[in-house]
Symmetry: C2
Subunit: 361 residues, 2 copies
């Protein structure tokens, strides 16, 4: 690739054109096909349809999980590039391809998401229960804050945490198992085979527009970055930069069916950050310099999304009919804990983003 | 007073001796007697024993509340000075006086504490319910985080918040009413009259030791400050200085009967900070310069104590038998919210304390 040793952000450097995009898309399509083969060999429907396990993450199925992740990863990159560099690609083909890739990566992502959500919630319950020993504060001079409780009442909350964990495990394992079946069905469907066939063509033949070979990629990439920075400007970063602003839990007991519309703009920035990263990958080819800010910001936004969804799962579980009050109490504490994780993630994002913005001045 | 225009921290200045302490104690004793008279006139047992009201804070009884607060305020100052400047005062008298003053201010403080705790918790429930309108985020591009819920399930959580509020109101109002009766009984008791008589004597005649008139107050005051700074050194300030460290909730669901021994050292620092402030008052006489750091630190530690106790009350209410799961869930969210207030207060303390420490270098 001609642009590999150039800095595409250097205006004096030669233009990075549709050829670079084609190279990037071919590489991602090849990766997609490799992951798909790997997935079929390790547990996908093409290779071992009989091995549908309720716990696909255990044992040898781990490789299958990795393969599915790699498949999603390249699907997202192809889809993202189709979006960002739309004018350089055959419009009909793009419009047909994108929703199919979104369907595929969405379907494949669910199983892993439920698994990760459960792990996050169980870990939090463990932490909140002080389960791993009881670290006493050395040199604590004062008496403990609360008086002793009768043993029966004491046990209540532990039982609550345990029951909350069991309830979440039941609900999220069921959801994951369903997502697993759905993913297997999707991978065996004719809809999927049609996508895979198209990606196979893409691996050798990228449908660029006639003008693409002479079109500079950078304006489209810059536009993607601008969409990101515009969206970040809309975030309440001043509030987020004040620790313990208590914003994330502000509708924690709201009667509103969608109590956290405040999360939306952050989720949107997460997606735009991703598109910006993929655009950079297409632009730089193999020589992409590491941007610590993008990495850190992306991690903070992933954590934001994960904590928000975990908090939602805890609230949802609390609506299960006929649960014990102690279970509901534990789920309430857990919900609030995860909403504070949401707030902490916003703070982390603000810190890394503002720090670099100041440096850049 | 001879020392009034001197800076007692200036080693070149003349010594501040027992005379200054006597002046301070006389002033506090006079204030105590004035508050007591005021309290009797506005609702205390001496003036209006028949007016025992379940809601003593309402209407004209407000003055009585103010008077009780002023009474506690001077009782704490006398008691604190007896402790800090022990060697300058008649030992037998001091030893007899201090527990009586502690009993008195403790008894008088409870009613106000329950009232303030209830207000804090109801305010938090209100905030968590997003009750005051629903501020939508302008320009929110994404879909809301959670899908719509059936109306019946939706209502559940509001009912939960309302029921939690009603439960807390019932429990804390009962506790407050009891504390009010106990305080009235205490103020009418012979035990109280004995304390009041002693304070009346103190207003004119402070039992200094023979050597006190020639003894410098500053070493004792410096020792009080040292006990404070030593205790602060023992606090986990590095952790507290990292926002969102999630320490305060770490035993939120612990089976331990005293889940928050971590609060003890902070409560202890709060008391030592108070003793240091009173020692400065005795030292400076009427000319005490404002120390913003002490004020801010004291406010942070008050907030820490109040939030810790409110969190405890929410947890305690959740142990009420036969409450609805929705009520328990709301109390869990509330408990976690207040524990995060505890963490926020520690952060605020660390910020104000460290900032000044850096400035002082």
């Amino acid at each position: 690739m001609a642009q590999q040793h150039l800095d595409p952000t250097d205006p004096a450097a030669g233009a990075v054109t549709g050829d670079a995009l084609a190279g990037y898309l071919r590489a991602q399509a090849t990766e997609f096909l490799r992951s798909l083969r790997h997935h079929r060999e390790t547990g996908g429907p093409g290779g071992a349809a009989g091995r549908v396990s309720p716990n696909p993450a255990a044992g040898g199925a781990e490789e299958s999980v990795d393969a599915a992740r790699a498949l999603r990863r390249s699907a997202r990159r192809i889809s993202g590039s189709l979006h960002t560099f739309r004018p350089l690609l055959d419009a009909d083909w793009s419009e047909e391809m994108r929703p199919e890739l979104a369907w595929l990566s969405g379907t494949l992502a669910l199983e892993h998401a439920y698994e990760a959500r459960l792990q996050r919630l169980l870990l939090a319950l463990h932490r909140l229960s002080g389960a791993a020993g009881f670290p006493s504060q050395p040199g604590s001079p004062g008496p403990p804050a609360a008086g002793p409780q009768p043993a029966g009442e004491r046990g209540n909350l532990t039982v609550g945490a345990a029951k909350a964990g069991a309830l979440l495990e039941r609900q999220l394992t069921l959801a994951r198992t369903r997502a697993h079946s759905t993913a297997l069905q999707a991978l065996g469907s004719s809809r999927f085979h049609a996508v895979a066939d198209k990606v196979a063509v893409l691996a050798s033949d990228v449908p660029l527009t006639p003008a693409a070979a002479a079109t500079d990629l950078r304006p489209a990439a810059a536009a993607a970055e601008e969409r990101l920075t515009d969206a970040i400007t809309g975030l309440p970063l001043i509030t987020a930069g004040h620790p313990y602003n208590a914003e994330a839990l502000i509708h924690g007991l709201s009667p509103d069916p969608a109590p956290h519309p405040q999360d939306g703009p952050w989720h949107q920035v997460r997606l735009l950050l991703r598109l910006h990263r993929y655009a950079r990958e297409a632009l730089y080819g193999g020589d992409i310099p590491i941007d610590v800010r993008l990495l850190t910001a992306g991690e903070a936004l992933d954590r934001h999304r994960d904590a928000a969804e975990a908090a939602g799962a805890a609230a949802q579980a609390a609506r299960t009919p006929r649960i014990a009050p102690a279970t509901a109490y534990a789920l309430g504490v857990l919900h609030a804990d995860q909403r504070h994780e949401v707030e902490a993630a916003r703070f982390a994002f603000q810190q890394c983003w503002q720090k670099e913005a100041v440096k850049a001045l």
